[in-house]
């Protein structure tokens, strides 16, 4: 192949790559556009044919309806409380456990780690019935606790933390012990500061996964006062409501908090996945 031929084919490849990526991005974003534009339409222009790609007379009535007609903010607050509490607790507990696995030799370590690793393959659906029975026995059925405590068992974070903390030099901890730090002090002063990015990543992904959880709230809650957004919106479809615009307004509003998080912490979203995937 001549060098000019190679340059042309390289250019062609670039054009093609852009074309493919543009198509992918349009497909990825189109449903959001559809939801958003429908949410701005009034009830009568949702069924027009040929379709109206831009609302001809945009209105915020659907947003008013959603925010005024049901305890939407309550649902959103419930979702936020659940997702952020799980995220915070998980970050604390998993970093502690990860530290133990990474920096201590202890009885039963290998077996325990193997057990924990193998449970990564156990989906929630498999455990859902006993989880309900345990939640019932703990007396937390139909409370937000029933959505907060069960996810703490999923060990992905322990695994992630153990891998990352293992890469930190152990000398720091030894030095801190010599300085007379308590064991927790050692962890707090020599480990936590160094794993902040991983903590952020774990927190954000835990938040995302809890924010999008459906099966758990479906089984563990029924009262509107502890209802979370995923359930409330799936519920909308089954209500006395054919108002597409309102449904779309509700779905669009549900996206906002997570969108804000994404914009603020984009770096961690993208790094996070790789950290989990380092070793497989």
């Amino acid at each position: 192949m001549t060098s000019s031929g190679r340059v042309t084919s390289y250019r062609l490849a670039r054009v093609l790559a852009h074309a493919i990526w543009i198509v992918a991005a349009v497909i990825a974003l189109f449903p959001f556009y559809f939801a958003f534009s429908t949410s701005l339409k009034n009830t009568h222009s949702q069924f027009t044919y040929p379709p109206e790609w831009f609302p001809s007379s945009p209105t915020l009535a659907n947003y008013q309806y959603v925010l005024g007609g049901m305890p939407y903010l309550r649902y959103m607050a419930n979702s936020l409380v659940v997702a952020s509490t799980v995220a915070v607790l998980k970050v604390i507990f998993d970093s502690m456990a990860g530290y133990a696995f990474a920096k201590f030799r202890f009885f039963g370590k290998k077996i325990l780690f193997a057990v924990i690793l193998s449970t990564l393959m156990i989906p929630l659906a498999v455990r859902i019935i006993p989880t309900f029975l345990i939640v019932r026995r703990l007396g937390i059925f139909d409370t937000l606790w029933a959505l907060i405590l069960p996810p703490l068992a999923y060990p992905m974070g322990i695994f992630m933390m153990a891998q990352f903390i293992a890469t930190l030099p152990s000398e720091l901890q030894d030095a801190a012990r010599v300085d007379g730090c308590s064991e927790f002090g050692v962890f707090r002063h020599t480990v936590l500061p160094l794993i902040k990015p991983v903590l952020a990543t774990l927190a954000i992904f835990t938040f995302l996964w809890q924010w999008t959880e459906f099966l758990l709230p479906l089984i563990m809650t029924y009262s509107p006062k502890v209802m979370v957004l995923t359930l409330a919106i799936a519920n909308l479809k089954g209500q006395l409501l054919t108002n597409w615009g309102a449904v779309m307004a509700a779905t669009f509003l549900a996206l906002l908090p997570i969108l804000a998080l994404f914009v603020l912490f984009q770096r961690y979203f993208i790094e996070g996945i790789t950290l989990g995937a380092i070793k497989g």
């Binding site: 903010l73 509490t85 139909d142 009262s223 479809k237």
Partner: protein, 434 residues
């Protein structure tokens, strides 16, 4: 409004309970101002628990209106004023997965005290003794005389015992769009032949002759089964009864709407609300609708010229389907007599009337006449004995789902109606056996 806010605050305070104050404090900080703003007022523990004060009765009902909770506020207030020792705590139980939610609520040991039940839901819970026996408690004979004897003996009844007081009825009749029929030169059908004729002659362009929605679809089929002279289950309620020549005829007729007459939109394209909406927007000439439609049409869609008629007569006559709802008290309720006061009140002429006139549903008692203007009302009154309800069996839900899968297969042309019912009969009976 203020009273309602307060009561809501108390209610959540009790639920969130002790020791959670700390939790919510932490969380409020964590989840930022937005969450905190909406959480703190409703979740801070309120006054001391009611040790001696009024008794609280938890009442659940699935919504028949978007403003369900608002409608109950004045009714609850009126009751509480008359009964200062009883407090009613109302919750909307969403229709969405209501069955699964009731299962977990009863299984969790913390069910509602008073519950609105759709008749077909009952047997599963009654069989496991979750509903109270109203005969044994002497409640049913207190009010029995106020109701139609036949209805009272059927709706809240399972295996000869009464488990509640009838509250409302949702009959389905044929709704026709007069203008669309007139344009096609036909009138409302009175026989099956006329029905398909009207259906095909009104189907053109983006307009349809008829529509069957899903889920909840079985309600659209059962009347045709009855009208053909077949039934879902035998009179003893132990076995399938639909796999007879008459039953197969009914299914053949049903399937032909799509496959032969092509008078319906693609199977499964409309859920119930969308199908109703299609009628409101004059996209369909006929629909088997419930009485809320007759209530909403003149109020919200005054341009639609419609009528409500009885289902068109089949080989065995005309029949139509209705859900009935009753109000029950759960066996686990601690204050049964107080709960009974509430049940008696809301099923009374005044209580039921106050609620039903808001939602446009038919009362289960004959002395409430709030519906004269509803076009479905005369059809309801004149055809009382031709209205049938869902079969009562604890395993009916599973049996019915299995039956419907075969009907779907027939609609989609995968099997013939005969084959569909042959398979369905076996599946159905197996499910009933548990």
């Amino acid at each position: 409004m203020v009273a309602r806010e307060n009561s809501r605050r108390d209610e959540s305070a009790r639920d969130v309970g002790v020791n959670r104050r700390q939790f919510f404090k932490t969380v409020a900080v964590l989840s930022g101002a937005a969450a905190a703003g909406s959480l703190m007022p409703s979740c801070m523990p309120g006054g001391a628990p009611a040790s001696k004060g009024p008794v609280t009765v938890k009442f659940w009902k699935s919504p028949h209106h978007e403003k369900e909770a608002d409608f109950w506020v004045p009714i609850i207030k009126q009751f509480e004023d008359a009964h200062p020792n009883i407090k009613i705590e109302f919750s909307v139980l969403p229709w969405y997965e209501a069955g699964a939610r009731l299962t977990t609520a009863f299984a969790s040991g913390n069910p509602p005290d008073v519950l609105y039940v759709v008749d077909a839901w009952g047997p599963k819970y009654i069989e496991s003794k979750y509903f109270m026996d109203f005969d044994a408690a002497g409640y049913s004979k207190e009010v029995k005389d106020q109701f139609d004897a036949q209805l009272f003996a059927k709706v809240p009844n399972y295996l000869g015992k009464t488990y509640g007081i009838p509250f409302l009825g949702v009959p389905r009749f044929l709704y026709v769009n007069n203008k669309m029929l007139k344009d096609a030169g036909v009138s409302a059908p009175t026989t099956w032949d006329e029905f398909t004729k009207v259906g095909t002659s009104t189907t053109k362009g983006d307009k349809w002759g008829y529509v069957v929605f899903k889920p909840g679809y079985w309600q659209a089929f059962w009347p045709w089964l009855w009208m053909a002279g077949a039934d879902i289950m035998n009179p003893e309620g132990t076995k399938a009864a639909f796999n007879t020549p008459e039953g197969v005829n009914a299914l053949q007729f049903f399937v032909d709407w799509w496959r032969k007459y092509k008078m319906l939109p693609d199977y499964g394209s409309y859920d119930q609300e969308q199908a109703e909406d299609l009628f409101y927007r004059q996209g369909v000439a006929m629909e088997s609708g419930h009485n809320i439609m007759a209530d909403r049409l003149p109020k919200e869609w005054p341009d639609v010229d419609f009528d409500v008629v009885m289902m068109p007569k089949g080989p065995a006559g005309a029949f139509s389907f209705a859900d009935f709802g009753y109000v029950t008290i759960s066996q686990a309720c601690q204050y049964k007599d107080e709960a009974w006061q509430w049940v008696k009140f809301i099923t009374s002429k005044d209580g039921a009337g106050a609620y039903l006139k808001n939602v446009g549903l038919f009362p289960a008692r004959p002395d409430i006449s709030i519906m004269e203007k509803n076009k479905a009302w005369p059809v309801y009154v004149n055809n009382m004995e031709k209205i049938r309800g869902a079969p009562m069996h604890p395993h009916f839900e599973e049996a019915n789902n299995r039956m419907w899968a075969q009907i779907e297969a027939a609609i989609l042309g995968q099997v013939t109606p005969k084959e569909a019912f042959a398979t369905a009969e076996g599946d159905f009976n197996q499910a009933l056996a548990g």
